[in-house]
């Protein structure tokens, strides 16, 4: 890196360099122009609304058994039917949403908070630190994500915090890689050189110029990670390794439903549909943002110009 770090850049000089504000705007733009992002966003809002307001609107307690009304099929009084203890399934699915969101949000943020600084610092420092970290990342990536989560949850015992960690662990390398690729790629760019020339310090360059460029791919990663975290949490509960009763989770509901597939198929259909729609909403948004940012679609235009 250059040695000119004594004078501090003036505001005017800073403004002359691209700060990639468009990176933020472009994410916002996706929600105006891409139908998938709009549909995904609305779907997500509906799910969040149901999770937050639902418990007040539904006249049943998700834990309250009603033995007069066991295995009731979906009807006007029980929209999703009732389970083996006569508990209202809609109330239980809505209750499951909040635990699902809490675990997935925590897990994807935890992976971001650990992975991103790790990638930034190691790629910045370089040398042996970088090499050793990379080998560790390779080893973690070799573990199938779900297998890793299962093993970790067995070791840590089920709790919300250990679920965060168990699910986040295998996504850490993905964040580290995205950041690393960006830092290494951007380091050589002309605008970074220009920032050096006007006297910006190394940290200022990392935070003001390089990191903003990484935010959009990070947004994609967090979105898709959230989707997979929801699925992994459900898988763990389905296997009986997640938060057990009395906590209500979608995976746990599906596990219960397995025994009653023939008598009460609705017990399997509705919690699974809620799960699938949640994942779908994030996949739709993530895909839309990714397509918008995909350098391949952009570069195709550049290549044509060059010819």
């Amino acid at each position: 890196m250059s040695t000119v770090e004594t004078d501090v850049a003036s505001d005017a000089q800073r403004k002359a360099l691209p700060r990639h504000k468009e990176a933020f705007n472009s994410v916002a733009e996706v929600f105006l122009h891409d139908r998938r992002a709009v549909v995904g966003g609305i779907l997500l809002l509906v799910m969040i609304f149901a999770a937050v307001v639902g418990p007040q609107l539904i006249p049943y307690d998700p834990h309250q058994p009603d033995l007069q009304d066991r295995f009731a099929a979906p009807s006007w009084s029980h929209w999703m039917g009732t389970d083996r203890n006569g508990r209202d399934l809609l109330a239980r699915v809505v209750a499951g949403a909040s635990i699902s969101f809490r675990v997935a949000l925590g897990a994807s943020l935890l992976a971001l908070v650990i992975g991103a600084p790790l990638g930034a610092v190691t790629s910045y420092v370089g040398g042996i630190v970088d090499d050793v970290t990379q080998r560790f990342m390779d080893a973690i990536i070799a573990f199938p994500a779900r297998l890793m989560a299962i093993v970790l949850i067995v070791l840590l015992g089920p709790s919300v915090v250990s679920l965060w960690f168990a699910i986040a662990f295998s996504s850490i390398p993905r964040y580290a890689r995205i950041i690393r690729g960006s830092v290494l790629g951007q380091k050589e760019r002309e605008y970074v050189e220009a920032a050096h020339a006007i006297g910006e310090g190394r940290l200022a360059i990392l935070f003001l110029y390089i990191l903003p460029n990484v935010l959009p791919p990070m947004a994609v990663q967090v979105t898709l990670d959230f989707a997979s975290a929801v699925t992994v949490e459900a898988s763990l509960s389905f296997l009986g390794l997640g938060l057990g009763p009395p906590t209500i989770s979608w995976g746990g509901l599906l596990n219960d439903a397995q025994q009653w597939l023939e008598t009460a198929p609705w017990l399997a259909i509705f919690p699974g549909a809620a799960l699938a729609l949640t994942v779908l909403s994030f996949v739709l948004m993530g895909d839309a943002i990714r397509d918008h940012l995909d350098p391949r679609t952009r570069r195709r235009g550049e290549r044509r110009l060059a010819r």
Partner: protein, 322 residues
Amino acid sequence: MIRYILLRAVQIIPTVLLVTMMVFVLVMVIPGDPVLSMLGYYADDTTAVPQEIYDRMFRELRLDRPLPIQYLYWLGDALQGDFGKSVVFRVPVIDVVLSRVPATIYLGTFAVAIAIAIAVPFGVWAAMRNNTWVDHLASGFVLFGISVPGFWFGMIVILVFSIYLGWLPAIGYVAPQDDFLEFMKHLILPAGVLGLDVAATVLRFQRTDFLEQLHQDYVRMARAKGLPRRIVIWKHVLKNSLMATVTVVGLNTARLLGGSTIIETLFSYPGLSRLLIEAIYARDFPIIQAVVLLMVVLVVVVNFCVDLVYAYLNPRIRYITA
């Protein structure tokens, strides 16, 4: 090519070693006493085992030695296929594990075959009819495959094909040498559910890659020199884009193994993943260690093979890396 193989082989050694270390540490970090854990007891249950058995186990596990030495012994034993004795089955771990391998291999192979059979033709078709109903159908299929969790889709499939229609058995497994027809009947549903999951990922890449190939210079060149479109597509474009397919299928091994933990449990299919879950319920740590190690090493080896196939198909990779 030989140089490239050696280079890549040397590169994966640290990864494999780290993986073995992580799996070894796994049992060491179980909260509480490793001897009790290895014997299948809860770690705080100190009165469960007589002192002399405890002492013998303590020496057998070499817990009196420093941790790095323990690891080296363990690695040496593991390389010879010795993972100790299963707590539940009271026989060598390796025998239990190997007895479950064929079922998982059948399931995985069949799932990949289904995935390729759906994804490749569909992906090519969607790319050639870009932005038509075929393409939209393919996108819908991809979204469905990615968003719908396998275990839920599996339940729906059981509901439809086993319970309502009664066409196929919902659970279980029959060895192919015993009754091939029954074997196939038991395999179709789990392999189909698992395969559909992989198919979505493969289809997405196949479509994008084929579309990109269609816009390459060599395609325009081939068309310009008068080659019919049919030949350009089937002889040149498809061949090139299948490279991407090889990679994606290979990289999905991890996903396949992860997915199989749930699918094998749902369909009570006696493969490796089901063994893992059973071992977890029974706290059979030697088995857990062996299965996890086997799966992860399998992923690393498959990725290594994918690299080689890719380098073989695309000579440029060899020159860049070597």
